[in-house]
Amino acid sequence: MFIINCPYCGVRDQSEFSCGGEAHIVRPKQPTELSDDEWAEYLFMRKNIKGVQFERWNHAHGCRKWFNMVRDTSNDKIHAVYKMGEKPPVI
């Protein structure tokens, strides 16, 4: 159970949040122009890193805002949290 620093609300318990998987996967602007393989790449393919991973999180039982988090999956250390649309930090 980690402690997460919501960029909008501050430090809260993990039980208030839900994880939305890998971050920075942008929905294609023109899906109709993609091949099946290209669309499948967007739709299905996700990294599962042991180590530093960029993730989407939602403060589901709080402000309901989505934000991004850099987390080391091997020890759950959270390196950074930042708002949607902000540039990912260099870790």
Partner: protein, 1000 residues
Amino acid sequence: MTKYRINKTRFVDQTKTISFTFDGKKYHGFEGDTLASALLSNGIHLVGRSFKYHRPRGIMSCGSEEPNAICQINADTNLTEPNVRATEIELYEGLRASSQNCWPSLNFDIGGINNLISPFIPAGFYYKTFMWPKSFWKKIYEPLIRLSAGLGKSPSQPDPDIYDHKHEHCDVLVIGGGISGIISAKIAAKNNLKTILIEDKNILGGSTIYQNNKNFIIDNKKSNEWLMNEISELEKLDNLIIKTRTSLAAFHSYNYLLAKENISDHLPLDKKNGDIRQRLWKIRADKVIVAAGAIERPLIFNNNDRPGIILANSVKKYLDFYGVSTGLNNIIFTNNDSAYETAVSLFEKGISVKIIDIRKKSSSNIVKNAEDLGIRIYWNSTVVNTFGYKKIKSIEIMNLSEDGSNVTGNKHKIQCDCLSISGGWTPMVHMHTQSGGKLDFREIDQVFVPSEKSENHINVGSCNGDFELEEIVKNTNNKVKKFLNINESGFDKISVLCSKDLEKKNIWLLPNTISEGKTKSFIDFQNDSTAKDIKLALREGFKSIEHVKRYTTTGMATDQGKLSNMHALGIIADTAGVKMGTLGTTTFRPPFTPLTFGAIVGRSVGKFFDVVRKTSIHEWHVQNNAKFENVGQWKRPWYYPINNENLHEAVQRESKTARDSAGILDASTLGKIDIQGSDASEFLNRVYTNAWSKLGIGKCRYGLMLNEDGMVYDDGVTTRLGENHYLMTTTTGGAANVLSKLEDYLQTEWPELDVYLTSVTDHYSTASICGPNSKKILKKLFPNKDFSDEAFPHMSYQDAIIDKIECRIMRISFTGELSYEINIESKYGKSLWENCIKAGEEYKITPYGTETMHLLRAEKGFIIVGQDTDGTMTPIDLQMDWIVSKKKYDFIGKRSLYRSDTIREDRKQLVGLLTDDPNEILEEGAQIVSELDKKPVEMIGHVTSSYFSPNLNKSIALAVVKGGKKMKGQKLFVPMENKNINVTVSDFIFLDKENKRINA
């Protein structure tokens, strides 16, 4: 006093007698006893039978590591609890304990025959034997195994006790109230840190509190006296919470810990009632100091499991803490100095004691102490066999060869009634590893010790591999000061004198003259796995420690291998010829000791198990005899039986009345999302499959929402309330998920859209009136409103007022009938409903529940998302091509609708099914096949919805069938247990294909 209660101590009050029963027989103990110490004081060693061979087993330890003495407490009552360790339960008046895993009795157990045939039941016996013939499993093997297996009996009545949860925050949490935990807690609390000290026993002090040996001196006092003084000072500190009878269950990341406090387990039965039994503490600590101690290791030799074979330090605790001698003619078998403390204690109480030591010598103070007392020591020797069936009677010893790999010389037999064994100590690294910490292997005494990496927790004392009193005290002081950033503590100038254990020798599996296959050298006492089993597993090709563990079940009993894991590892390393440090360990998983389910769930039982959501009309439904069904957290009326109607009869009546005259449904539970903003229309265009830009204000439209993978996700009617204002409805169960999904897209993919979403599900109550007379009822309710088709057409909405309260009327239909939904602020829901019922009285309006709603919509072929779809259905599969916009450039899921897989023509598609016998009703979920003779029979689909339609007077069903679109008129079969039902594929709209009733 009994023969074995030979010592008076300050921990057991021998003026307070407590009576209890074991296996039906009455005994006495004293206040302060555990069940185990009380049994031993009565000379009872035999307390259980082993799991596989049903060998007699005795009490072996004095703590949570106990593998043998597990009992059923208060059998056949609602308070009963299986698998309780006798070493942990405090004695109370009226306690009834019984042994487990024996039949017909502990003294005569038929299962003991397994011991005789044990050469034929090696590791993996069950896996290997009960494989064939396959048909034997269900009828013969399983019932037999179930009869002979198992530990205690689970209670058959509800748990009467109350359990509690409590959240706590602190600066420092200290786990373990032994000497290092006490030093740590004192340093922390004295430096103004909010500190919690938890200890699983009923008093603080660990093993030092009964250490009265003169070789262990702190500040010129015997170590136990020094510690008692420290404890009394500790209890005066303000910012320290001391929790005894509290054991740590789990150490999660970010210093989140769970601890279980026993509040009433030790109280007499008549004082338990109504109290909270256990409390689960959920502690978030800034810093954690683990002082969990160490567990003594057994030694592995032939027949090392007889009653009367007990860990040496436990023998000392029974003697010096409980005042009980485990035997009157003791032998100590050791590989280290710590067991000599036991020997000296026994000798000083006048009990006969001899020592067998696998080492060649030791010159430490404590050994000299024993030699000076004249205690006989057999150096360089090992036990090769033990005798006595229900209690040890004698042992045979031999000399060890030069390198310890073999035995030499003659066997020498010695009589005894207790054998105290000590194989050294294993630091309790469970907490450290649960928190994510790693371990290092220390070669010199063969232990895994914590490898310190964490900034937020440290390990001190013997759980950190410090076994000698001096290093325990001094290292704890230094480490805690550094960890808490403190310059000076009260322990900086402390003087400690102790015996030093300099001669180390360890042999994981002691040698013997008998061939290995004929010995029984137990490693895991509770699961009966032996050294032979481990070696067999290695011969059979298992290499990973995790695999050997599962194959032999070593370490998988309720003690979780606290005594056995290290020996299993050691024997694997020796046999495979690898270094133990390279093998790694098995994973230490929480909980450290078993938790009760009660403690885990706390107060979330019964009506507090989950939130119950009721509509504002709920009371009316209750008064009118509604039966309810759970839809998500909502209670929805299912049907309203009149007189003694069953479900079928009520639904037939409700359905008929709704179509013939009028029906009313509480639709308040449907999800409602208020959508506002200048880009609201564009937003709906992107989330629904159909087009929304041209929907006029005051109009309603049905929408289908997909996942990005093209599969149907939710559906519902959305109404345009204003230029930039919509009200979306969702399915009852999907409301929360739909809102989350929409928010996700808005915040992350389309932040440029000016759209705001608000859940208003609970703000409005909804009465849905349908049937040919619905318009007349509405007219009565709203006399000033024009309900003509021109003024108020299908799929439109109007504001209205009833009893001076504003409401919205939507003319929409989920039944295919002329139908209106009235939305009103929730608090007026019930009065609106009652008005509707009153107005509908002359038309015999019937309230109907979800079952009738399902039937009515199925007659019209309307899908229910989640019933007729399962996350693998596209709108094309559902034959709903009409709702998928060809013109729109994009919407969620559009691209997926023409992936190679989604355009396959043999996908499961929605069809209607009619049974050849119109009275035969299919079972929902039933499988559909096209050919009965072809083996294996291919399943081509399943029934998703099925009803008897009173309006069509026949059975109808919806189903999904592979390539079903092109199968209209085809005969298929629904095979059931006793018969095959013949069905014909039909259109899935069974009633009013022309949609005439909507404007009736």
